[in-house]
């Protein structure tokens, strides 16, 4: 077995907003929504990014410019090359003819856009809620609309869509309709709240952990107490799996393997 690594030319760079860009690659990969790749310029690091679009001949990843690495990447132009490994990890389940609720916060939104497309292909009806700190950080709004879905947009400051959180919108929706399936991606505290609010409805979430090898060998991304490897058995987890993870919503590990507790989490 060999790892799937390839060096690809960036075909197109889409500027989603001031702090978010999408790279498009003209390369066919076999991937399902929720899976991620490891992307590197072989100069400034290598980090995981969810696949945000994928068709027969190309795929894309959408990244928020947060730190040093993504800062460097944001200078790349069409024609520049990057090294890519993957896709890795588990995928969201795609049912048929069901009512699906998608909830995404911040950089959790891009993989959900890929998911929404696949859900619609299989005749599911999709309701989407996306939340951002502020309107200028919103992403994938147009993309969602292209698939025929008009996402409910929430911002903390009310500068776009309604003021409030994804959770506020979700509780409203659950009062009116009962979806067959809930999907969520975003900050872990939000994921925990979505799970808690899901009220018996099947639920799949996309968790993030610090990644190194991404091939299940180094243990960096393992979640306790069962040693679930987010790079192999994750990043998409269902309720049952999450139920086994006392670590979920409590802490994660930094690059040294030391625990970092989430603010607000009790330990």
């Amino acid at each position: 077995m060999k790892e799937k690594r390839f060096t690809l030319k960036i075909m197109d760079v889409i500027y989603e907003n001031e702090k978010t860009i999408t790279f498009i690659f003209k390369h066919k990969i076999k991937s399902g929504p929720g899976q991620f790749i490891m992307l590197s310029d072989l100069e400034n690091g290598e980090k995981p990014f969810s696949i945000s679009s994928c068709d027969g001949s190309s795929f894309g990843v959408t990244m928020k410019i947060v730190g040093e690495f993504t800062g460097k990447l944001s200078a790349l132009k069409p024609g520049d090359m990057v090294s890519i490994r993957g896709p890795y990890g588990s995928t969201f389940t795609i049912p048929e003819g069901k009512r699906c609720l998608i909830t995404g916060g911040g950089c959790g939104v891009p993989p959900l856009f890929f998911l929404a497309g696949r859900l619609i292909e299989r005749n599911n009806t999709v309701t989407a809620v996306t939340g951002f700190k502020t309107g200028s950080e919103a992403m994938c709004v147009n993309e969602f609309e292209k698939t025929g879905i008009r996402p409910v947009i929430m911002t903390d400051d009310g500068s776009l869509g309604a003021r409030g959180t994804v959770l506020d919108a979700m509780r409203d929706i659950l009062k009116k309709e009962r979806p067959d399936m809930i999907y969520a991606a975003g900050p872990e505290i939000m994921l925990k709240k979505v799970m808690d609010a899901s009220d018996g409805i099947p639920c799949e979430i996309l968790v993030e952990r610090y990644m190194k090898c991404a091939i299940g060998i180094c243990g960096q991304c393992a979640m306790d107490p069962i040693g679930l490897r987010v790079c192999v058995e994750g990043p998409v987890l269902n309720k049952r799996a999450v139920g086994l993870l006392s670590e979920f919503g409590a802490y994660r590990r930094d690059a040294s393997g030391a625990k970092e507790f989430f603010c607000g989490a009790t330990h």
Partner: protein, 304 residues
């Protein structure tokens, strides 16, 4: 698990001869537990140092024909946090655990051993392949019989746990090093650590693939080198050997035991055949034992 797999090692009876080696999965108590549940008989923590280390930048791994290179850079949360994971593990599972440690001097190793004394770990393993630590003649620590002797001796003077010396393949005479470890009182050897290191280059980006440029070689392609070194070491020491390097099947376990190992570690194999590799290999061992007419794994001995 089958009784045929049970094997004695330094006073312990292990449920399987398979070992989770240092640096594979072993960051958290949960990972160790998972490897145990999958069928490993003995578990090793990530190599722990006095201070936490973030390790090298990504990319830290890359695959090639027959193996992989890695430059994790000995990332670890430090000996204190690392041993807490052992404690959490022991709350749930009885399997013996090796605490792997590394330092840059006999004194550091001594201090690390004192921590292990106070922990729930059953063994201490000395990772002697710390890169960039040279002795007075510019020889890497792991390749100098004097350094190996001094470190093992220092740890033996304090350790209340059996001491396993993990040897590097990058030496001129493995016999010398193995004997130095034994003479200093090591209770067992673990061999081999990753080889090389090696380097892979992305010819389109014109850059080394690993951020650290170089990374140690693991995986199936290591097997012949590992077996040769184990065969040589076992010709001159009496202490048992945990053999590793390219073991990915039941037949590999038999082969490395015939080379002179008592137990067999599986590292890169976790990538090649998944975490269930321990279960699969245990099954393959039993199948081989049955077909070849052995009563149990202990009967498989070093060849001449």
């Amino acid at each position: 698990m089958s009784k045929k797999l049970m094997i004695d090692f330094l006073g312990y009876t292990l449920a399987s001869p398979l070992v989770l080696p240092a640096g594979i999965m072993g960051i958290s108590s949960g990972s160790l537990a998972r490897a145990a549940n999958c069928g490993a008989g003995l578990l090793t923590t990530k190599s722990l140092s006095l201070k936490p280390r973030k390790g090298h930048n990504n990319p830290v791994t890359a695959c090639f024909e027959g193996g992989m290179i890695n430059a994790m850079g000995l990332c670890n949360p430090g000996i204190k946090e690392g041993l807490e994971e052992v404690r959490d593990f022991k709350k749930r599972i009885e399997s013996p655990v090796i605490a792997s440690v590394f330092g840059t001097s006999p004194e550091e190793f001594y201090e690390l051993a004192s921590y292990v004394n106070k922990s729930k770990a059953d063994f201490i393993e000395l990772n002697l392949s710390c890169p960039n630590v040279l002795d007075e003649f510019g020889v890497p620590l792991s390749a100098s019989k004097d350094s190996v002797y001094k470190i093992v001796k220092s740890v033996k003077s304090v350790s209340e746990r059996p001491v396993i010396a993990k040897l590097s393949p990058n030496v001129l005479s493995i016999k010398e090093i193995a004997m130095a470890a034994q003479n200093a009182g090591a209770d067992a050897l673990s061999m081999i650590n990753s080889l090389g290191p090696g380097m892979l280059i992305d010819i389109k980006l014109k850059r080394p693939v690993l951020a650290n440029k170089f990374g140690g070689v693991s995986g199936p392609c290591l097997k012949p080198v590992a077996q040769k070194l184990i065969y040589e070491a076992s010709s001159c020491v009496k202490i048992p050997i945990i053999g590793m390097g390219g073991v990915i099947s039941g037949k590999d376990v038999i082969e490395i035991k015939m080379a002179g190992a008592t137990l067999a570690g599986i590292g890169a194999g976790v990538f090649y055949r998944g975490i269930e590799i321990f279960k699969k290999v245990n099954r393959e061992i039993v199948k081989f034992l049955n077909e070849a007419g052995y009563e149990n794994i202990g009967e498989v001995k070093r060849i001449k």
